[in-house]
């Protein structure tokens, strides 16, 4: 299930991101590259960030940028941007190195997907392994095994 959620272009490094909104934009652009969202989705995610603050920085160094299902979403999907230089979001979990992006077509088709994702991320040692692993193939295998 996670293997389908992460499209072929969905896991990438980024060398030129310098701020939090830039990191969100680049992560959401990965969803767009795999035709999971249209350009409209980014505005939704940035609006959420502006309204509620960096609440989707959910663990030390790890964010999951997302907005509500609907506007701009073509297909449920996930993406991961790994930042060479971590950015500051304003969260207690700063600095952020891994920026996941997530989109859902409706409010229930992704529940199992996120349950699998939570299980992978919560498994002993996996979070630190992901935070410290520069090889994107190894990262993909860890996430979709």
């Amino acid at each position: 299930m996670l293997a389908q959620a992460f499209g072929p272009n969905s896991i990438a490094h980024h060398l030129e991101v310098t701020d939090w909104e830039g990191a969100i934009s680049s992560a959401v652009a990965l969803l767009e590259a795999d035709l999971r969202v249209t350009y409209e989705y980014l505005a939704e995610v940035l609006a959420m960030n502006q309204k509620l603050g960096p609440y989707f920085v959910v663990a030390p160094g790890i964010a999951i940028a997302h907005a509500a299902p609907g506007v701009g979403v073509l297909e449920t999907g996930m993406a991961l941007l790994r930042l060479e230089e971590p950015v500051v979001s304003g969260s207690n979990n700063d600095p952020v190195r891994l920026v996941f992006a997530f989109c859902a077509v409706d409010s229930d088709s992704h529940i199992e997907l996120l349950a699998s994702f939570a299980q992978v991320m919560s498994a002993e040692g996996n979070m630190n392994r992901l935070l410290n692993e520069p090889d994107l193939t190894i990262i993909r295998n860890l996430l979709t095994a």
């Binding site: 960096p54 609440y55 989707f56 790890i62 207690n92 919560s122």
Partner: protein, 90 residues
């Protein structure tokens, strides 16, 4: 018992939080229904939740509700969730 897992949209962070809270509660042997909801639902006067799990950034926005509010700093840390739920339930 009813527990809410809360995030801005009620579809991302809250679902991850619910998923881990379910696993922790099952391991603790506690029977509870955990529901992923948006902030608006958590603030609602009709909220029946005894406990609300939330990420710290959103905590300020729901401080005046009847439910006990528990901020979770790392939603992937099952130990943190278990410790905080144990303290709240004892």
């Amino acid at each position: 018992m009813k527990i809410y897992a809360v995030c801005g949209a009620g579809i991302g962070t809250s679902v991850l939080l619910k998923s881990n809270a379910d696993r922790v509660l099952a391991a603790m042997g506690v029977e509870a229904e955990v529901q992923a909801v948006s902030i608006a639902d958590a603030i609602s006067a009709e909220s029946l939740a005894q406990i609300v799990l939330i990420t710290p950034e959103l905590q300020e926005q729901i401080k005046d509700i009847r439910s006990e509010v528990i901020p979770i700093d790392n939603i992937f840390n099952l130990e943190e969730i278990e410790q905080k739920l144990t303290a709240a339930l004892s």
